[in-house]
């Protein structure tokens, strides 16, 4: 079997097959672009079809044009609530994951119960428990003679919203963080132990840096979910996108118009967030390339 008759896949400058390889590549790229353009055209067509249908059904475009600004003012609140909540959720998730993996029975018990209860109850119920249920306890405490402690239980709508979202997402992300921590190779723990690291040193210097890196895409995904779930806090009166849209919708009976504006706002936000996330992931992947 002669090696000379086999074309090596990794072409060098002197390889006579190189030009054919390049042509094939260019043709593949062209085909891919054409396919993308076709799909894009379908998107445009569908949206146009929807718009035309709605216009025929006398949707009030001037009204939407007049009031879309009011709805968009809610974007800052939506972003603020989502960002703050994902931040606290990440911290809670870290403690939750470490607690679940801990050898300490108290840590294991607390985190396990927290995760189980949160994952087993609806977010809406959790939200109402915090915003309506806690003040009830607060008032009791004040009545029993603990005014300062009682006041802590009476939260403003934004605070309740952030607390509920943080607790909720923290529990779900904790399981992913736990998997991330456990995915760090067993051998590395042994190497860390062999050079004399304590359990905490090993966690801090070897395990967590890698686990967090692995978990960042999950945080990004959850932020996108959070942007959409933040719409729920409209039910307790936080003036974000959905709340503003639904107020006008109900006041002026312009439901389709206002809620489509709201939906469009969320769609744009999530697309931007997705794009930012894929750029971040690309940047991180580059650091690990051979």
């Amino acid at each position: 079997m002669s090696v000379d008759t086999v074309r090596q896949p990794g072409a060098t400058a002197a390889d006579p097959g190189l030009s054919m390889g390049l042509e094939l590549l260019a043709a593949q790229n062209r085909a891919r672009l054409i396919q993308s353009a076709k799909v894009g055209a379908v998107w445009v067509g569908l949206v146009a079809l929807l718009a035309a249908t709605l216009l025929q059904l006398r949707i009030d475009v001037p009204y939407a044009a007049r009031y879309y600004g009011y709805v968009l003012q809610g974007v800052t609140t939506t972003l603020w609530v989502s960002l703050v909540s994902i931040f606290f959720a990440t911290i809670l998730a870290l403690f939750g994951a470490l607690g679940r993996l801990s050898r300490n029975s108290i840590a294991q018990g607390v985190s396990g119960l927290y995760i189980s209860v949160i994952r087993g109850t609806p977010l809406l119920v959790q939200l109402w428990l915090i915003h309506l249920g806690l003040p009830q306890i607060g008032i009791e405490l004040i009545g029993l003679g603990f005014p300062r402690l009682g006041k802590l239980f009476i939260l403003r709508a934004v605070q309740s919203g952030i607390l509920a979202l943080s607790l909720n997402y923290g529990a779900y992300m904790a399981e992913v963080f736990r998997a991330g921590i456990q995915s760090v190779g067993h051998g590395q723990r042994e190497a860390a132990q062999a050079i004399g690291m304590t359990h905490w040193q090993m966690l801090r210097r070897v395990v967590l840096p890698q686990a967090i890196r692995v978990s960042i895409p999950d945080i990004g995904n959850n932020f996108i979910f959070m942007l959409k779930d933040s719409a729920l806090v409209s039910v307790i009166g936080v003036m974000e996108i959905t709340c503003r849209a639904s107020r006008l919708a109900r006041r002026d009976s312009k439901c389709m118009e206002m809620l489509l504006v709201a939906a469009a706002a969320y769609w744009i936000l999530t697309n931007i967030a997705s794009w930012l996330q894929s750029r971040l992931e690309n940047r991180m992947a580059r650091a690990y390339r051979h």
């Binding site: 590395q188 042994e190 190497a191 132990q193 050079i195 004399g196 040193q201 210097r205 890196r213 690990y288």
Partner: protein, 260 residues
């Protein structure tokens, strides 16, 4: 004796892997441990630095003694017990078959980790020590590379440098070349030979009989968790006293015609 192992037993569930090992190692001695897979040779090594907790027995390394067993199990989990184990681990250094470098750190940072985090040596001093160790294994030019960019042989040499930097009394090698492509084995064995010539006390589990013949002061053959035979390479490899040793060694020359 820098290592003294008395009556070492290890059970994994109902599997009796180590059955009463007694072992002593003198300072600067190079001991090579050979045996089939499952014979307990890696477990023996891993018990010495308590990566596996022995089921029974006493381990003394450079004066630091830790006893194991049913009665000791609870006390080894206390703060004092863990300090004892840590002290034992600082006397030893382990080179793994799978290298086990920290992938999120560069070669130099891998070496610095033990110095800075465990021994609390100031950074500048640690960097000096680290660079010396890297130079010693011939990888100074790779100091800022991440393990993913290194070949297997280079990774293992960095792993050796990482252990060297901690200045252990005893260096243990758990099949250091078994995961390497054949053409990369030589560079690692060269480093190990150099260490042996400098008088490092070494405990090596390996299948590299050539290395054992040239470098070992003593070869130990383990079968089913017990030491069958121990002696200088000339004896063990050419003239074993026990039939079981001879049978094991014959598997290495099975495809060599006309040889021993």
């Amino acid at each position: 004796m820098i290592i003294n192992v008395e009556n070492l037993h290890k059970w994994f569930g109902l599997l009796h892997v180590l059955r009463g090992i007694d072992l002593t190692v003198a300072p600067q001695e190079v001991v090579v441990i050979i045996g089939r897979s499952g014979s307990g040779k890696s477990t023996l090594l891993r018990c010495l630095n308590f990566l596996e907790e022995p089921s029974a027995g006493t381990i003394t390394i450079d004066g630091q003694t830790v006893s194991a067993g049913l009665r000791m199990h609870a006390s080894l989990r206390t703060r004092a017990g863990r300090q004892q184990i840590l002290a034992l681990r600082l006397k030893t250094g382990m080179v793994f078959q799978e290298f086990n470098l920290f992938p999120h750190m560069t070669a130099l940072e891998n070496i610095l980790e033990g110095l800075v985090t465990v021994k609390k040596i100031p950074k500048e001093q640690a960097v000096q020590i680290g660079e010396q160790c890297l130079a010693k294994v011939g990888l100074s030019d790779k100091r800022d590379e991440h393990p993913i960019r290194l070949s297997g042989g280079q990774k293992q040499r960095v792993a050796i440098a990482r252990v060297l930097a901690m200045e252990p009394k005893v260096m243990m090698f758990d099949e250091p070349t078994s995961a390497l492509d054949p053409e990369l084995i030589g560079e690692v064995l060269d480093v190990m030979l150099q260490l042996a010539q400098e008088g490092t006390t070494m405990l090596v589990v390996t299948h590299e009989m050539g290395f054992a013949r040239e470098v070992a002061d003593r070869i130990i053959y383990i079968e089913e968790g017990q030491i069958v035979e121990a002696g200088p390479p000339k004896q063990i490899l050419s003239n074993p006293e026990d039939e079981r040793t001879a049978i094991f060694l014959r598997t290495f020359t099975r495809f060599e015609r006309g040889k021993r």
